[in-house]
């Protein structure tokens, strides 16, 4: 029984050893350069991208390589390029990355056909058109031992593909002499059209708001603007001292504001009732008396109705502002008698 167990352990050890040896062999096959495959053994046909210019960052470039290899040479699959490997050119990352690889194998009578489909993606750009290559890929074959290749390993280099990467910037948008840093971030597209549209929309919006302000400015659009004396005060500012009729108009406007505030027609004989209902106006009781005196002179006195100068309108405008302050609950500023 023990003898059988020892034999089994030996067998496992031998298997592990052979596995390690084969792995190290494959690693060696990948890393070490091998002699070139003899001429005439490999027949290459390739389908490259249909153009070699105009590629931008992010573009996918497909390449199909067909290798028809005479027997007994066989492709070592582990030597195929690895997805994600970044090629370097003179120590610099080239910016071309293998994104996807597929391969098929078809056995013929004397040959084996390998079809390798490669998909590269461009991860670089430049302010001007930049040359680039899909790199040459080296694959290895296992063949019979020869003088150059005693272990039978030979390699074959799939030729590179030259193309041009186009810049993403518009010509002239970037001054290259001022932008030579290798750390420069990718040039962004300039949203000129969008900016112009945005500006136009903002202009229309601004004009609309101005129009709205103009329309609403003559009406009530803030809580304090719609009150009778606030409205009257705005209307009085438009009147001129030079026009005698404007004084009548101004007096009428103030009368109307008083009536609207009281909700009835206010006269000098019901001022007490008005002041008791709106005590905030008590502060300008003397001015209100003066207002009625002026109104009586202008509207009802046939002797002196035409003798008023521009000072009356100036006084009236100040009086109206005092009333506006009163209706807002503020303390009105005192003014001199007209």
């Amino acid at each position: 029984m023990n003898c059988q167990m020892n034999q089994l352990i030996k067998l496992i050890n031998i298997s592990l050893l052979s596995l390690i040896l084969s792995t190290s062999f494959l690693a060696n096959a990948n890393d070490e350069p091998s002699p070139e495959i003899p001429e005439g053994i490999v027949k290459l046909s390739k389908i490259n991208p249909d153009r070699n210019v105009g590629f931008l960052m992010g573009d996918i470039m497909n390449r199909t390589i067909t290798l028809e290899v005479k027997k007994p040479y066989k492709l070592i699959e582990t030597t195929l390029p690895i997805v994600g490997y970044e090629h370097r050119y003179k120590g610099q990352v080239s910016g071309i990355e293998l994104r996807k690889i597929n391969h098929t194998e078809k056995e013929n009578r004397d040959t084996t056909t390998y079809v390798i489909q490669l998909a590269y993606q461009v991860f670089t750009t430049a302010p001007v058109v930049k040359p680039a290559i899909l790199p040459a890929e080296t694959v290895k074959f296992q063949g019979p031992p020869t003088e150059e290749a005693k272990d039978g390993l030979v390699q074959y280099t799939i030729p590179e593909f030259y193309f041009r990467i186009s810049p993403m910037a518009v010509f002239g948008a970037v001054k290259i002499e001022e932008d030579m840093s290798p750390l420069r971030q990718p040039v962004l597209l300039q949203p000129y059209v969008e900016k112009q549209k945005l500006t136009a929309y903002l202009a229309v919006l601004g004009l609309s708001l101005l129009g709205l302000l103009y329309i609403l400015g003559s009406r009530a659009w803030l809580p304090l603007m719609g009150r009778p004396f606030a409205q009257a005060s705005r209307q009085l500012t438009k009147l001129s001292s030079k026009n005698p009729e404007d004084l009548k108009l101004a007096l009428s406007r103030v009368h109307k504001a008083l009536n609207t505030t009281a909700k009835y027609s206010v006269f000098s004989d019901n001022m007490d009732a008005f002041l008791s209902h709106t005590p905030s106006f008590k502060a300008i009781e003397a001015e209100i008396d003066q207002f009625f005196t002026l109104s009586h002179q202008v509207f009802f006195d046939t002797q002196i109705s035409t003798s008023h100068d521009g000072n009356s309108l100036v006084w009236l405008k100040k009086f109206c502002k005092q009333c506006r302050d009163c209706e807002r609950g503020l303390k009105p500023a005192k003014q001199k008698k007209a």
Binding site: H255, N259, Y264, S265, D269, F299, F300, D301, S305
Partner: protein
């Protein structure tokens, strides 16, 4: 000269008011209104409860005006001829005819005082219509003129037994209907009770200087007032608006509590009524030393000159006094000037 006359007569009017205010206390407003009616040459109807001083007030004015004074008591059996003449058997045993109260003073009749006018029959009211409107009377195949006559009448609105409602045509002849109410001032009420000078009405009235005014000059001076005191176009427009509002108060937004405004007024103020109103307003302006009529002058006489002229739907007649007061107050509050 006319300006001096206006000033002199104003002093007479002020003295008249002053003297009467000493005798009839707490009635400044009715006294001012009666003074206004005298200088406007308008008849006056006093309305109030029993014992509030209506008769005393009218007797006091009568003494101040001077001229012929006649008085008659309204009773249910009073007939029109009782105002014109009365018959009696003389000492010679023969029937005699003597002039009645209207004819007794001839053209010098200045005050005809009709006490409790609503107790008289409509036939008497009818006679009075002509006397008040034309100041003439046909009797004994002769036309009598009373150019200086004013009719002072009073009535008791509370007592309805054995009374006749004064028709609207008769009411319209009165320039003013003035309510007399007991003063609310405690001091005045106390003096009316305890001050012995108020106990004897005859002695009280006799304390007033007689003939403060010259009755036979009042017509000419009244015409002078109406000529001198002016009304501007603004005031005319205001008076017109008030007139229209008495006809269609709902069009001016006037409302009276518990009243269907569309059904309330059957007839607004008459042209004669509005004319009387403005005459009284001119006099009020003159008394207050103004050359032009103000809206406040109209307000001072508006209720007393207009209220009794309005014709209401019968359903509202029972509340006439209260509704007329609210209606006219609403009109003054609703109509603005300017």
């Amino acid at each position: 000269m006319s300006d001096k006359q206006l000033t002199d007569w104003r002093q007479h009017a002020q003295k008249l008011e002053s003297e009467i205010n000493k005798v009839v206390v707490g009635q400044q407003t009715p006294i001012r209104l009666i003074t206004t009616a005298i200088f406007s040459r308008g008849h006056v109807l006093l309305e109030g409860d029993v014992g509030v001083g209506k008769t005393t007030l009218l007797r006091a004015f009568t003494r101040c005006i001077g001229g012929g004074y006649q008085r008659i008591e309204g009773t249910i059996d009073l007939m029109p001829n009782d105002l014109v003449y009365h018959t009696y058997l003389g000492e010679d045993g023969k029937p005699h005819v003597s002039p009645g109260p209207l004819l007794m003073s001839g053209e010098n009749l200045s005050v005809f005082f009709f006490n409790e006018i609503n107790r008289a029959r409509p036939q008497v009211h009818s006679l009075l219509l002509r006397v008040m409107a034309e100041r003439t009377l046909s009797a004994f195949n002769k036309e009598y003129h009373f150019p200086h006559m004013l009719v002072f009448a009073d009535r008791n609105q509370v007592e309805k037994e054995e009374t006749f409602e004064i028709p609207s045509a008769a009411r319209d002849r009165f320039m003013m209907e003035i309510p007399i109410v007991v003063p609310d001032d405690n001091e005045i009420m106390e003096s009316l009770i305890f001050d012995t000078k108020f106990h004897n009405v005859d002695a009280l009235v006799n304390t007033i200087p007689a003939d403060i005014l010259q009755f036979d000059q009042l017509n000419d001076f009244s015409a002078l007032i109406q000529t001198k005191i002016e009304a501007t176009s603004t005031l005319r427009q205001y008076a017109l608006n008030l007139w229209r509002a008495t006809k269609t108060p709902s069009a001016y937004g006037v409302k009276v509590s518990g009243v269907d405004m569309n059904r309330l007024v059957l007839a607004g103020a008459s042209p004669r009524g509005m004319s009387m109103m403005l005459r009284a307003a001119r006099v009020n302006a003159w008394i207050n030393n103004r050359d032009s009529v103000l809206p406040e002058d109209i307000h001072a006489v508006f209720h007393s000159t207009v209220a009794h002229r309005l014709v209401f739907s019968p359903v509202y007649e029972m509340r006439r006094t209260e509704i007329a007061r609210d209606l006219l107050t609403g009109i003054v509050n609703a109509v603005a000037a300017p």
